[in-house]
């Protein structure tokens, strides 16, 4: 059953100073609770850039496979790849304190990748929907799914240079038929402070959904 004899060289850092697989920044040994936030959006909207802007590790990517019958490895193995769909997604993380780490996932918003969504959303605190004002329609499907999952979210508008004036946030809100209580903010995914602001907006929104007065103290 062995695919290869177990003779691989030790991982980098083995034997020396503790160095996790992420190289530069291993998780703290005391971490016991990992939290998730998902960033969804259309092709090229800036998901990976956002993950990279706030993550303490360079964004990593991996993939999940699905076959027509579900996540059956049997079928995956017999790759007649017509029957296999692979979805790549990336992620980064932020150590919050000695016990908690926050994982950020960048997930493609296209409908054909629906099968990864359950896994990513499962247990997530909430989501950020990134939109490119030149392709607002790319966000319709993710918005629909988030509502279906009853996953709380905020919308971040990534401004790309393009011809013509940029639509105002109010126009974007209308075009996306966003309810008034869903936070909608501008964002530049390349800037750490901007991404940090989006995440804080999301978490404040979550706290407010939980208890409308939750953050009043903090705000004063």
């Amino acid at each position: 059953m062995d695919s290869k004899p177990s003779d691989q060289p030790a991982a980098p850092g083995a034997g020396g100073a503790p160095a996790g697989p992420a190289g530069e920044v291993p998780l703290r040994r005391t971490v016991r609770d990992a939290l998730k936030i998902v960033i969804v959006g259309g092709f090229g909207v800036g998901k990976t850039t956002m993950v990279g802007s706030v993550s303490e590790i360079r964004p990593l990517s991996t993939e999940e496979v699905m076959t027509e019958v579900g996540v059956g490895i049997d079928d995956v193995a017999r790759v007649s790849d017509k029957r296999t769909t692979t979805v790549a997604f990336d992620f980064g993380r932020i150590s919050l304190d000695d016990h908690r780490v926050l994982y950020l996932f960048g997930a493609p918003g296209q409908q054909r990748f629906w099968f990864i969504w359950d896994q990513l959303f499962s247990g997530s605190l909430g989501a950020v929907v990134m939109v490119d004002t030149r392709r607002l329609e790319d966000s319709f499907y993710p918005l629909d799914r988030l509502e279906h999952h009853r996953m709380p979210f905020v919308v971040a508008v990534n401004r790309f240079d393009g011809p013509g004036p940029q639509p105002s946030l109010e126009r974007v809100r209308d075009a996306l038929s966003l309810p008034g209580n869903v936070p909608l903010v501008d964002c530049d995914a390349r800037l750490r402070e901007s991404c940090k602001g989006v995440l804080i907006t999301l978490v404040r929104h979550l706290a407010t959904l939980h208890d409308p007065t939750a953050l009043q103290e903090a705000a004063q």
């Binding site: 059953m1 062995d2 695919s3 177990s6 003779d7 691989q8 030790a10 503790p18 996790g20 697989p21 998780l27 703290r28 040994r29 971490v31 016991r32 609770d33 990992a34 939290l35 998730k36 706030v54 990593l60 991996t62 993939e63 999940e64 496979v65 996540v71 059956g72 490895i73 049997d74 995956v76 193995a77 790759v79 790849d81 296999t84 769909t85 692979t86 979805v87 992620f91 932020i94 150590s95 919050l96 304190d97 908690r100 780490v101 926050l102 994982y103 296209q110 990748f113 896994q119 990513l120 247990g123 605190l125 009853r150 804080i200 978490v203 404040r204 979550l206 706290a207 939980h210 939750a214």
Partner: protein, 120 residues
């Protein structure tokens, strides 16, 4: 991000790695379940098991990070991890504040997340 053939060497590797098993006990491990090695690899162990134990022997590593470093799909890594758990080679730390529709994150957790983010 288009669907594409699996990008590791040999598609048969998936089948071999898992011994042809397709079972994924889906609830048993989350993407962010943290994995800790409890002991060193035993002689003759399957190479992927060895690789996992080496990756998480100094500190916890999330399932999804193992998947990324091993360049294996998440569902395959989960199968390998359940083997290791069942034989006592690893322990796992489940995400304790994981939310569901009916159980959103508690306020205290959210406040701690805010503190962490503001300190970024």
């Amino acid at each position: 991000m288009n669907p594409r053939p699996l990008d590791f060497d040999d598609p048969d590797r998936l089948y071999t790695v898992t011994g042809g098993r397709s079972r994924v006990d889906d609830d048993a491990l989350d993407l962010v379940t943290l994995v800790v090695a409890e002991n060193d690899p035993a002689p003759g162990m399957q190479s992927e098991h060895v690789a996992i134990l080496r990756l998480c022997r100094h500190e916890p590593v999330a399932v999804v990070e193992l998947s990324s470093h091993l360049r294996l799909p998440v569902s395959v890594v989960k199968i390998l991890l359940l083997d290791l758990r069942d034989t006592g080679h690893i322990t796992v730390r489940h995400p304790t504040s994981a939310t569901t529709v009916n159980h959103p994150a508690d306020l205290e957790t959210l406040k701690q997340v805010l503190v962490g983010l503001e300190a970024l």
